[in-house]
Amino acid sequence: MHAEGIGDAECVRRVQQGDTDSFEILVRRHQRAIFNLVYRLLGDYDEAAEVAQEVFLSAYKSIGQFRGGANFSTWLYRIGLNHASTRRKSLNNAQQRHVPFDGTEVIADGAVDPARSFEHKEIQQRVQQALNSLDPDDARIIVLRDLQDVPYENVGEVLDIPVGTVKSRLHRARQALKANLAPYFRSSRKAS
């Protein structure tokens, strides 16, 4: 895109004035983060692709309501979390959820040894399972903070909670994840 240097706020302003092409800049800029956020919360690649698409479409439709009080990324994360939560509930209700294992992680991991690669793959699968089995609030805060590396303040904005609550809730979520992953620590240590 010819205007990659334009900031989010300017792109949003242009879109609000009817420049649909400026929204493509925002899509390209945030698609990876939103897709990973949704993917880790849902654990299914195809579902994540569909939901991420819905997230951007919803953002476009309601971009007129975005007043610039927060970062566009924060606003987009919030939309992404809402859509992912809704889809996760419907998937849970339909009992269609399954732990994804589509090989994407293996390719990205770059492991050479097949045995070690398989072990890495298994660990990643277990981590994803542990994330999926967490309480949705705990899963959201861990994905935002530990996977997306979103600062505490922004996590608070996305989840609409004070920073102090972010800290305590993050601690609680990590404790819960640790309890889920405790049996695999040894193997993961071996693998690493």
């Binding site: 698609q31 990876r32 880790r40 992680e105 981590v127 861990i142 994905v143 601690h171 990590r174 994840l177």
Partner: protein, 409 residues
């Protein structure tokens, strides 16, 4: 700093978000406390595992697909925007909803209003042919419920509830004790005072309530009487009871015959009033100008030739103005029913005013006229302004049928 405090800060310590001094104290504690150190290692491992999850690339062409949907949505929005955005008017959903609800409410109100107005309709042919059915209270109530959607809004006493009807019964019975006519069917569809009042607002000349003594006297078999008859008994008469002498009735009839034809000039007014009088308003027949009770001849003697002769007589005279063909058929039909069912049949017939005597003569061939009120039921402006007479005829079956029949006054 004890273990409990350290546990509380472990997550922040892991993220490097603690103040330098507090971070140092936690670090010192971890170095000295094996359990806390183990806990710290576990949390760090968890964080490493999660953050070590590989970043997944979106599907190829993801942004293009998103933008395709976005452009489609933009097209739809632009259609809407062409209507509103040029004016720079932002209509909130709530305001739009309020406007829509208001419009809908106004529409429903108008429709309701039109329905109420259309309830007052003229049914010129239906009411006389169905009088036998209207004699039954239940049938009357059922039909009222079917044909009139909103009974509660009608100013017609005919649709009063049963409690009010029960209140009217003693009044009717008391009238019957004084001057009752055994076997006489009450006028089933005579409107009450309220009805006349409501009709008077439509008609140029006010209608007056018929209040003869004979009409006030209800039948002994009140279970067959209609609500209108009972409510009429409840309503106070607007005129004093008429004398029941035949000669007075005849005098008035002659008077009516001598009414000038100049009054027929008022045809424009009279025609609309006639339409009202000849039909039924919301299933209610208007009062008649004359009441006649005829006892049919014995079936053995009263063959069909009699009726044919009557019809022929009228046809040969002045059928168009005195007894129209459809009225003649109605009369014959009622007569046949009276013979077949053995029950009293009541019909209303409209004839030319100057044909009344001729009509009565023809009627006498069907049987004996056993009751004729001495004065016309209605002598109001409406009657005078019209050259038509509306006659209520109660046809009693022949004596062999077992009907009690009217008693001579």
């Amino acid at each position: 700093m004890n273990c409990q405090e350290v546990q509380k800060y472990l997550s922040e310590f892991l993220d490097g978000n603690l103040e330098v001094e507090r971070s140092q104290r936690v670090s010192d504690h971890l170095a000295a406390c094996a359990p806390c150190s183990e806990e710290m290692a576990s949390l760090a491992e968890c964080q490493r595992l999660v953050s070590g999850l590989p970043k997944v690339e979106p599907p190829v062409g993801f942004s293009n697909r998103v933008m395709a949907h976005v452009r489609e949505a933009a097209r739809k929005q632009s259609l809407w925007g062409r209507l509103f955005l040029p004016l720079r008017i932002k209509i909130p959903v709530q305001a739009t909803a309020v406007v829509l609800i208001a419009v809908l409410a106004a529409f429903i109100y108008q429709k309701e209003l039109r329905q109420r107005e259309s309830v007052i309709t003229v049914e010129p042919e239906k009411s006389p042919g169905r009088e036998d059915k209207r004699d039954e209270l239940t049938a009357e109530q059922a039909r009222a419920g079917e044909s009139i959607p909103d009974v509660t809004n009608l100013p017609i006493k005919e649709f009063k509830d049963s409690a009010q009807l029960q209140e009217a019964q003693p009044l009717a019975k008391s009238g019957n004790q004084n001057k009752g006519i055994p076997g006489r069917q009450p006028t089933p569809t005579t409107p009450s005072e309220d009805q006349v009042g409501s009709l008077a607002t439509l008609a140029p000349a006010p209608l007056q309530e018929k209040s003869s003594a004979t009409n006030e006297a209800a039948s002994p078999s009140l279970e067959q009487s209609s609500p209108a008859a009972e409510t009429r008994a409840e309503a106070p008469p607007l005129q004093p009871p008429r004398p029941e002498k035949d000669n007075v009735s005849k005098d008035v009839a002659l008077e009516r015959e001598s009414l000038s034809y100049a009054e027929t000039r008022e045809k424009s007014v009279a025609s609309s009033l006639d339409a009202l009088r000849s039909g039924a308003v919301a299933g209610v027949a208007l009062p008649s100008d004359h009441d006649l009770a005829i006892r049919l001849k014995d079936p053995a003697r009263d063959d069909k030739a009699t009726a044919d002769r009557l019809e022929t007589d009228f046809a040969q005279s002045e059928r168009p103005s005195s007894l129209p063909e459809n009225e003649s058929k109605n009369l014959d039909r009622a007569r046949q029913q009276a013979i077949q069912t053995g029950q009293v049949q009541t019909i209303w017939i409209t004839i030319a005013r100057n044909q009344y005597e001729l009509f009565k003569k023809g009627l006498a061939e069907l049987g004996s006229i056993e009751m004729e009120p001495s004065t016309p039921a209605k002598t109001d402006a409406l009657s005078k302004s019209s050259d038509q007479l509306r006659i209520k005829i109660m046809i009693f079956p022949p004596p062999a049928s077992g009907s009690p029949g009217p008693s001579h006054p």
